[in-house]
């Protein structure tokens, strides 16, 4: 495996806020790496360091063996602008042409627009595009220079289901064609659909860096809500990793296997009412990851 980019013991603070805290990470060629984490976890800061937009407070960032701030090291890098960032008055074809002019062997405008379903819109000013069309154009721009490494920052935020799937397909085709892709998201579904390796980030630290399968097993939690006078006893049942009490008096318990927890709950004879079960959101799962002591030690090494 060739290392395309790496962070080594990188800390980045903004004033007294530490966005990244001693993060080390290698990105090798070939994979789709999912950077998963709640808002404010430090995902975007990691990308902006790799793009050369920011400098680390301490530690080193390397891109293709050199500093990402040197433009020459960015010739094989593809990035997306935010969808709202496109210059309103330029036409779709012009934006692709403009960005393509920075690369030695750009994908022809027509071919790229075709690949991302934008052919009909080539003559439209970007200000006239819908949100979904802007998204697609933004992602397409990352691939115009035939990059080896592509950084996608929340590429499908705000898209409907169809739009999201179409974009995922396009990203997969580009990956099959040889691009290594790093994709940030706070949607577990998106990471599940695309990534092979998952890096979980929260509070500026890498909590998990493992295969998709192993990480999913860790963060997939169910929540069981009941009203009971003996919340502490329920919390002590096997499988409960965390619990919270709502203002209504109901207590929510988080567990990997809700069925097993309910069996235990009934068997224990604890009095309860208003039982409700649902999947935990990703944010809730992360909260559990960050609060549970043992498996959350940063595991920075990666095979």
């Amino acid at each position: 495996m060739t290392t395309l980019a790496s962070l080594s013991h990188v800390t980045r603070s903004f004033g007294d806020v530490t966005a990244l805290d001693d993060v080390s990470l290698d990105i090798g060629d070939g994979a789709i790496v999912g950077l998963l984490g709640p808002n404010g976890a430090g995902k975007s800061t990691m990308l902006s360091l790799l793009q050369g937009l920011r400098r680390p407070t301490s530690g080193t960032v390397e891109l293709f063996g050199g500093s990402p701030q040197n433009p020459r090291n960015r010739t094989r890098l593809g990035c997306t602008p935010q969808a709202t960032a496109l210059p309103d008055t330029l036409r779709v074809g012009e934006v692709v042409d403009f960005v393509g002019a920075h690369f030695a062997d750009p994908v022809p405008v027509g071919e790229l627009l075709d690949e991302f379903g934008l052919t009909e819109l080539a003559r439209k000013q970007t200000g006239a595009l819908s949100g979904g069309q802007k998204r697609r154009l933004s992602v397409a721009l990352a691939f115009v220079g035939r990059p080896e490494l592509v950084l996608l920052d929340e590429p499908t935020t705000g898209l409907d289901v169809d739009g999201r799937r179409a974009l995922w397909d396009a990203i997969r085709r580009q990956h099959d064609a040889g691009a290594t892709v790093v994709i940030t998201s706070h949607y577990l579904e998106e990471i599940e659909a695309l990534a092979e390796r998952v890096v979980v980030v929260a509070g500026g630290r890498v909590l998990e860096d493992d295969s998709l399968h192993n990480v999913l097993a860790r963060v997939s939690l169910r929540q069981v809500t009941v009203t009971t006078a003996e919340a502490d006893r329920v919390a002590a049942l096997p499988g409960v990793v965390r619990h919270t009490v709502a203002a209504s008096g109901a207590t929510t318990f988080y567990a990997g296997d809700s069925d097993a927890l309910i069996v235990e709950l009934v068997r224990s004879g604890i009095a309860f009412s208003d039982l409700a079960v649902r999947g935990a959101t990703l944010e809730e799962a992360f909260l559990t990851l960050t609060e549970t002591p043992s498996p959350t030690e940063p595991r920075l090494e990666h095979a």
Binding site: L77, A101, H102, Q125
Partner: protein
């Protein structure tokens, strides 16, 4: 792709973006002509005298280039830093100087376009005169005289947010325009004001361009001062540019 051709590509799209909002173009071009029509043409004492009329047209030309540079750079950069398109462009493999050079080219093209109606109105409605060679000399001189304003614009753009930049630019261009004798000829200045005036880049630029067009004496302070302003502002601009990581919120 070489840095030069990349600069041209950036300049082309920067101009294209400007031209797509025609009123912005008209504003840049019409403003100085209006100033000439209101401040100079009705005053026959000035407009009727070839020497004074030519100096007045030069003053307006310097004013035009100054306003164009301050707004284009100051406001343009401040705005861009708040828009996420600019950070995206910074991820592309182009040296930072490419974007600055492109900005200078695009602004320069607009500034030259704004000078044409000024020269035409000056020639038709006043006694201002200049041979083609003198015009060319004036054009060369005004390029140099524009540099401090461009650099000052860059400094303002990187130092302030859009709203603050507008206020700062207005104060700076008003001070420089009156203080530099672009609206009222320095002949009317009391000595103390004249002394201050001679230290301003607008006055130095005006005197320098007048010298290039009309000949005569050029005080060393004019061109030395211009070079000094360029050196100082370039240093500050580079410092602010390197420090910049987009708009910071506290």
């Amino acid at each position: 792709m070489s840095a030069t051709s990349l600069t041209l590509v950036h300049a082309k799209y920067s101009l294209l973006e400007t031209v797509r909002v025609p009123i912005a173009v008209i504003g840049t071009i019409v403003f100085p002509v209006l100033a000439l029509l209101f401040f100079v043409v009705p005053q026959r004492a000035v407009a009727g005298d070839p020497t004074y009329a030519t100096q007045a047209v030069v003053s307006m030309a310097v004013f035009s280039v100054m306003v164009g540079s301050l707004f284009s750079f100051g406001l343009g950069i401040a705005e861009n830093r708040e828009k996420p398109w600019d950070p995206y462009l910074r991820t592309l493999p182009a040296p930072g100087l490419t974007r600055i050079a492109a900005h200078i080219l695009a602004t320069g093209a607009m500034a030259v376009a704004a000078l044409i109606p000024l020269v035409v109105v000056g020639a038709l409605l006043t006694e201002a005169t200049a041979s083609p060679l003198q015009l060319l000399g004036g054009l060369g001189a005004i390029v140099l005289a524009a540099l401090p304003f461009m650099l000052a614009g860059i400094c303002i753009g990187y130092a302030f947010s859009t709203k603050a930049a507008i206020a700062v630019i207005q104060i700076v261009f008003f001070t420089l325009a009156f203080g530099g004798g672009l609206f009222l000829p320095p002949l009317l200045f009391p000595d103390w004001l004249n002394a201050i005036s001679q230290a301003l880049p607008s006055r130095q630029g005006r005197d320098f361009v007048i010298w290039a067009v009309q000949g005569g004496d050029l005080q060393p302070l004019s061109w030395l001062g211009l070079l000094g302003w360029i050196a100082v502002l370039l240093a500050v601009a580079l410092l602010l540019f390197r420090r910049d990581e987009g708009r910071r919120f506290r």
